[in-house]
Amino acid sequence: MEHAPAAPPASDGPPAPVGRRSLVAPLADAVAAIPDGATVGIGGAVTAGHPMALVRALARRGVRDLTIVAPTGGVDVDLLIAAGCVRTVVTCYVGIEGLAPVSPVFRSAVQSGAVEVIDLDEAHCVQGLRAAGQGLPFLPWRGGVGTSFSQLNPSLVEFNDPLLGEPLLAVPALELDWALIFAEAADAYGNAQPVGTGHMDALIGAAAARVIVQVERVVSTEEIRRNPDRTLYWRDTAVVRAPFGTHPYSNAFMTADEQHLRDYVRAGREGGAALEQYLDCHVRNGDHDDYLEQVGIRRLASLLI
């Protein structure tokens, strides 16, 4: 196409500078665009670093028929199931470590048939997310050949590799519509700086069309520039500030809330009115600030490292 010469400015002087667009969004607005039936990846690992404020906001919305990709999930998966948002869970683990070897709502919903589970090995999660990020239909993996994985999850296809003829599994790309990720800090332009290992979060973001990163602090880009080696960014990102937002799970500055988790597990196992009461108090009762008030400042302060 011919490049047309730019029209001269209408007024005298240089054109007004166009500022960089802030990607910071209120919590409820950020999750408002996630539609029924979306495939949503959730970051974090076991009891650490899950974007729980985003999860609760999504549960509040009453979105339905989600496919949740949670490599090592727990309460996040449970709350979305309990709120009626989930049709399918893609995972290698849904539990709360020593407190609940299997997350209670996940277990009962899968056993009743209300929710379908698609089993992957932890490394299959990595390979599937990578394949999506790399724009490939699949990546191969050895672990899982000869097991029940391809029987439980027919999308995992055993094949003989074309070079040596060794039996391998084809792990299909885990393409996500949305990724919900936690980082300790980000600037307004979507430069996220998690503290620590970041679990599978970078891959979850790369596999997703859109990313919402929940942070403890929105910092200046000057602060981000001090440690550019720690920055992650994705193509289409919203930044949501939610202090203590991983609660009841941990982040770099806060331990997991063991007592809250025990209370949750009790309610989840009991189900019925006990679970409804938990949801009323901690999910349906207002916004993230209401949640923090419900938990209480004494409890929150006690968790800080």
Partner: protein, 290 residues
Amino acid sequence: MSTTADPTPGDAAGAAVAASGPAAAGAAAAASDLAPPSTDELFAIVLARDLRPEDRTIQIGANMPMARAAAVLANLTTLPDARIVVGLGVQALGDGGAAPPVLPFVFDPRTRAGESLMHQARVFDDVAKPDVFFVGGLQLDRRGNVNLFGIPGRDGGWKMRGPGSVALATMSANCRGYYVVMPSHDPRTFVERVALISALGDRRERARLRLRGGGVRLVVSPLGVFDFDDDGEMRVRSIHSGVTPEQVREATGFPLNVPEDVPTTTLPTAQELALLRGRVDVDGALRARA
């Protein structure tokens, strides 16, 4: 990475020691405190003894405190050159590093310590590095296969859903060797054939599929220690003190050959127990677990 899944271990031996509770442990645990070992303490010591000089990186998953204790114990005694991966940190205690504290959750941010970090996504970029790891299971069969998926229903759904297989398939395929830790031993957990396979233990199948790892080294249960013969069938290596061969046979859901002269599991020495309680598990977590 791996996890035990049985929500109700509750064997008699474990229940008996639960009464002693964490109060009896802690700072009071010294060489003179010779309360008999709990099941988890016995597991830790049996596993620590079997770890080998070629185990340079010992990887511990979630909800495996007895394995964590075994790795720390070995690193402090027989394997000073090893690295141990505990939660988010990679530690090495052979040069005097402090033993990682016992924390309720293995991914606690305070485990982000040591000389390197455990990156969940990058572990699988160097599958030769974790030499050894530990597997818990809902079911174990006579060929060494482990099921952590759950028990499928007849209609295609789930009769009993487990947590998922975590990384059992990958770690069992690639590691130099792994240990199966069974918190309960009864005909529902030690079965002829697992309902589903999370970790392929069967030696013949492993060879056919050209898996690179060495497979199951040992199985520990509240009743004994088991390994696999040349044909890949489970056999008794030792039974724990106070357990009869008949008890082991009755608790096992397949015909188990228990030789008449089967040895008794060597009891933890006073030195091993003192080190375990005084430096590794100072809070008594392994004695509190029933």
